[in-house]
């Protein structure tokens, strides 16, 4: 076979990728185990190099960057409306949750605020993204532990939520529906009733999961008391979202930050758990799915009438300035720091994603655990590779 230029490049890239792992693979004290970059338990392309002593982990090193797509550089050459298409794909399971903080940051710089109806609908889509995201988590958590059945239930019920998103926006999970100043379109007729009906279905799904997964004895044995993260450590490592709440820290941006979204009009609880182990993290996420269903139902019931788009110029130019807006993603705090110089596109955008910070605790929490627990802990920490690498 002739060696072509791209093969040559691939060879060089392979060498570079291997050189990044600064471990010697053959040592007398212990064995080095490489998990990934293609492994079902790594949700994509995370690579973990673990040094083992028998069954016990001495240390681990997560290696990232297999999904790095250069977001922060790409958004510098896109205009604002184009960027929403792109940022949809950061955390691919809950696309509308990625759009919202960016749109809010741009709106803040422009000094516009979406009409109330648009705020409500944005929140509804945000929460529906959360439901689709966490449903996937519940199914996936089962798969990690070795229970394949929850996945089928999760996939079945997730479709209902995706269908609702699709009937509004045309995209199953990349809706790209938020615009600066409001939303692209209004909802179709009969959509609200259908959504409320589906939320009831999703609540039934949560009950089912509670019995099927969390009530399972094997599941409890493999998750209870495993991978405990105390509250101080969690805060020191910058964990956010359900991982932090499962360690007993009552922290939720939906409630704590006054953003132009409709969470303040809904009545919901912030779920916390005191244990901080894998079971607590799964439990918190399950209850959060319930709360999200509650929020969507409430907001659908008292959705105000009115326009869905504020007055914005046709060609969007954002005045010079800086803004940081963060919202509560299903994974944690997702924020955009937008620096504008008055052009069609931003000058610089820093994207703060939750998974990148959540994954930083992996070396700490995996030290000293047994090999099967690696999978439970990684599964319950729950990260999306696109969210880590961007």
């Amino acid at each position: 076979m002739t060696v072509t230029e791209s093969e040559q490049l691939a060879y060089v890239a392979a060498k570079a990728a291997d050189a990044r792992v600064n471990v010697e693979l053959e040592t007398d004290d212990g064995m080095t185990l490489n998990i990934g970059p293609q492994h079902p338990a790594t949700h994509g392309t995370l690579r973990i190099v673990a040094k083992l002593d028998g069954e016990q982990v001495l240390w681990v090193e997560p290696i990232m960057g297999y999904m790095h797509r250069g977001y922060e550089k790409l958004v510098e050459v896109r205009t604002y409306p184009q960027i929403t298409t792109l940022v949809n794909r950061i955390d691919w399971l809950a696309a509308s949750c990625n759009e919202v903080p960016f749109i809010l940051a741009a709106e803040q710089l422009m000094g516009v605020e979406a009409p109330l109806r648009a705020q409500y609908l944005r929140t509804i889509f945000h929460e529906m993204g959360r439901i689709a995201h966490l449903t996937m988590f519940l199914g996936d958590m089962g798969v990690q532990i070795g229970a394949l059945t929850p996945m089928f239930y999760a996939m079945r019920d997730r479709e209902f939520v995706l269908n609702q998103t699709e009937s509004v926006s045309g995209g199953r999970f990349h809706p790209n529906f938020n615009r600066i100043g409001g939303l692209k379109d209004d909802i179709p007729k009969g959509w609200l009733d259908e959504t409320i009906r589906i939320m009831r279905k999703m609540e039934a799904f949560c009950d089912q999961m509670e019995e099927l997964l969390l009530g399972n004895e094997i599941f409890e044995q493999r998750t209870r008391g495993i991978g405990i993260i105390p509250a101080e450590i969690a805060q020191q490592y910058g964990l956010t979202g359900a991982n932090l709440r499962a360690s007993g820290v009552d922290w939720d941006l939906r409630r704590d930050v006054d953003s132009p979204m409709a969470w303040k009009h809904a009545d919901f609880d912030v779920i916390t758990h005191t244990d901080g182990d894998c079971y607590a993290r799964t439990w918190v996420r399950l209850q959060e799915t319930r709360e999200a269903c509650k929020i969507v139902t409430q907001l659908c019931e008292d959705l105000p009438a009115g326009p869905i788009m504020a007055k914005v110029p046709r060609i969007i130019k954002v005045p010079a300035g800086e803004a940081y807006v963060a919202t509560e993603n299903p994974l944690g705090e997702m924020g955009y720091y937008v620096v504008s110089q008055g052009d069609l596109g931003p000058f610089r955008v820093k994207i703060r994603t939750a998974s990148f910070h959540n994954i930083s605790i992996v070396p700490w929490v995996l030290r000293g655990v047994y090999v099967p627990d690696i999978i439970s802990i990684l599964g319950s920490l729950y990260f999306i590779l696109g969210d880590i690498d961007r």
Binding site: M1, T2, T4, S6, E7, L9, A10, Y11, A13, A14, A16, A17, P37, Q38, G44, T45, G65, Y66, M67, H68, R69, G70, K73, L74, V77, T85, L86, R89, W92, L93, M136, G139, M151, F152, M155, R156, R158, E159, R172, F173, H174, L385, G386
Partner: protein, 166 residues
């Protein structure tokens, strides 16, 4: 099979072998990004259920699989691993490239770290367009691949020169 290697495979036997091959594809799923979720929906979702087409997902290793489904963004860091796993698959092997990213770079067409198309390193049989393609689109891709397998001259495939990728 000596007949295949010597190129003297009778037509009906080819037909028979091709039919059995096309309905027993073991698919090695290389889920990389958003498209992987749609692939998972096609594999595990009861609504789509890829197994009714005779495709069996989740083989334990690429060495047991006939079909590689690359779904999602292939980055320059990932490309050597894609190539290495493809090389480990036994012949005859087929590749489905799912999603714009794997086809051509997709929304990251001007990114510095994304490979603009997995066909730069491995030969692709079926391209499934979309960002992300619906699970039905992946099923359609599988059906197209099966058509291709059905009409394949096996002797040709076996005798064939090694594929040169450029």
């Amino acid at each position: 099979m000596g007949l295949v290697e010597s190129g003297k495979l009778p037509k009906p036997l080819t037909q028979l072998l091709n039919t059995s091959r096309k309905y027993s594809l073991w698919m090695y799923q290389w889920g990389l990004a958003c498209c992987a979720i749609e692939m998972a929906a096609a594999m595990a979702g009861p609504r789509f259920d890829i197994m009714r087409l005779g495709v069996i997902p989740l083989p334990a290793s690429p060495r047991q699989s006939d079909l590689l489904c690359v779904s999602g963004t292939v980055t320059d860091k990932m490309v050597p691993a894609v190539r290495r796993l493809w090389e480990q698959m036994p012949d005859p092997k087929y590749v489905i490239s799912m999603g714009s990213c794997a086809n051509c770079g997709g929304p990251y067409w001007d990114s510095y770290s994304v490979t603009k198309g997995v066909d730069q390193v491995i030969p692709v049989d079926v391209y499934v367009p979309g960002c992300p393609p619906r699970p039905e689109a992946l099923l359609e891709g599988v059906v197209l691949l099966q058509e291709r397998i059905q009409n394949e001259d096996m002797a040709d495939k076996w005798r064939g020169d090694p594929i040169v990728v450029s």
